[in-house]
Amino acid sequence: MDELYLDNIDEYVNDHNKIVTYKWLSLTLGVHVNTAKQMLYHYLDHKRKESSAQLHATYLVSGKFVDNGQTSHKVSVVREDQLEDFKAKMSLVVSVHVYSVQRALLRDSGPLYAVDYDAVKDNLKNCSRYSAIHCASAVPMSSVELQQAREVQQAPTPEAENKKAGMNGDTSPVLKSSAKPPKGIMGMFANKSAPKSQDNTKEMKPEKKEDIEAPKSKPVAKANPVANFFGTQTLKKPEKPVKEEEAPQSSSRAAQQHERSKPEEKQETVAPVEPQIDTKKDSRSKTKRLEDSDGEEEKMEKKKRRRIKKPEPDSSDEDVIPDSPQPVVTREPSSPSPKKEVEPDRHSHPSSSEMKIRKRRQVMKSHTFLDDDGCMVTEKGYVSESYSESEDDFKPSKQASRDPIKAKPSSSKEDEKKTQKKASANSNKGAKQASIMGFFQKK
């Protein structure tokens, strides 16, 4: 072997005071890694014989290690003074070679990594050219294949995130203790989503429905802050059908319903006004939810359907508000069909208007439909248990809103409508936000 490499290594180690690892040497001199290892060994041996300036070396030891009856293959980088002890502990030594040579005594392995980091970074595209690890099928992809691979990667990454969140959820107790608070935007999301999810879980627990989701919401909240941002919205969604179902059934939980009614109202106002956003939420629920997202959607749709159907049998019930058609039962209008149902309900409701003392959810719905004359009519329904007076106010207001065009000559009616609507709006403000901006103001 040419002896020039000894002078090269000597220059690097003594003159430049570098840490010379076998990987760095192979990339610098352009030789195979095994050759580099032999070079370092010969250099070390040569210098030790000359007993010149003190040199330190690290070795890579790999072999079988028995620990508590379990055999494992261990690969370690050890200092020279620890080498013999380490070899003695191993049951079978497979390979020992020089890892690095330097003048300084290293206290930890950090500098070794830093040396290789820069060397690999400078030769990024061919860092394994001189490597001893080869795979025949490991061939660089062409640009076309690379693009296809990127497109494929974009699709499964959301699923991978769900899986990751699921796995993190399973080990959440450990993660909570050791996880550091995320910084910046991620931290902002994490802080926001954590209390929201906790509030939602508190509300859901008494209902004893979707209990599975409740514990998962917390680990999801902490493990994946980005998903939480969407996760909180998806959590609210299942609350809607659940609560809507229970509302007509339970009359004893007045206080709880009252508490629920407020967030629900906000949700309900969002839903009818912007049905498109609901679909987006559904899509988010598909990607971000860990469980059967499709199953959830089906459940929600079924519940929606149930809700739509319910008003008909409930029309005879006294719980539903009199005049305000759909708002009573808190439907989510996704099509004209609920609007049609609203009309017959409206007729049936007035009879039961007087009773209601039962505390129910408060829903405000705004429906736009074409009446018989082809007029576009927008109806607003608002129900509040505490506002029994407002219910009466709504009756005339809705009747007036039916025929906006026809009512033109009767300006007095319009004035009444406006004043009543204002009154109702004012009364509504106390309970919930009825406008489209409510969605944005939530944020």
Partner: protein, 203 residues
């Protein structure tokens, strides 16, 4: 190619931030490598994509951070010529002085998008050099009475609103110093040189 002047304070702040971050990492590493404090108080952290050692002791960390916080405005205005980490023996005589000479070009020119990654690479080399400075330095005298001082040599009048004190002559002057250069870097945004002044006889 964008050319900025010193008046562009945003960029000056960026450069000062980079330098102060680096100085914090370097000071912690010097304390670890020169065994000023027991190695048990240090833990492995990551900076510039490489592992570095950082102290966990809150008061020590706070002291270093406060000092650098005061130095930052001086670096911003290019008023700080040197930042020196002095290791003293129990008689308050300096044993080693790690001198960071810093200068910034008056006209900063951002020549490429890879400027910051290039600077990161250079700073990484500084960190590596500090890690192996043991080889060129004699070991410090044993004992727990090693102190850390940060001295700033100003090119202009010192700030009046900060409690600076003029360093004692005995803390500055070193007997029979030996100069050991460690690393030099030149980039578009900063020029820095690190060398060590070591007392010939430490014990």
């Amino acid at each position: 190619m964008t050319t900025l002047t010193r008046q562009d304070l945003n960029f000056g702040q960026v450069v000062a931030d980079i330098l102060c971050e680096f100085l914090e990492v370097a000071i912690h590493l010097i304390l670890y490598v020169r065994e000023v404090y027991p190695s048990g108080i240090f833990q492995k952290r990551k900076k510039y994509n490489v592992p570095v050692q950082m102290s966990c002791h809150p008061e020590l960390n706070q002291y270093i951070q406060d000092t650098l916080h005061c130095i930052k405005p001086l670096i911003e205005k290019n008023d700080a010529e040197k930042v020196v980490v002095v290791i003293m023996d129990k008689e308050h005589h300096p044993v080693e002085r790690f001198v960071f000479e810093i200068s910034q070009p008056p006209l900063l020119s951002i020549s490429s998008d890879t400027l910051l990654s290039h600077v990161e690479q250079l700073l990484r080399a500084f960190i590596l050099k500090i890690s192996v400075c043991d080889a060129v330095l004699n070991s410090n005298p044993p004992g727990n009475n090693c102190y850390l001082h940060v001295l700033v040599t100003l090119m202009c009048l010192p700030l009046q609103d900060f409690p600076w004190i003029v360093a004692d002559e005995q803390e500055v002057h070193m007997q029979e110093p030996r100069l050991i250069p460690l690393k030099t870097m030149t980039s578009d945004i900063v020029k820095m040189q690190l060398y060590v002044e070591e007392r010939a006889q430490k014990t």
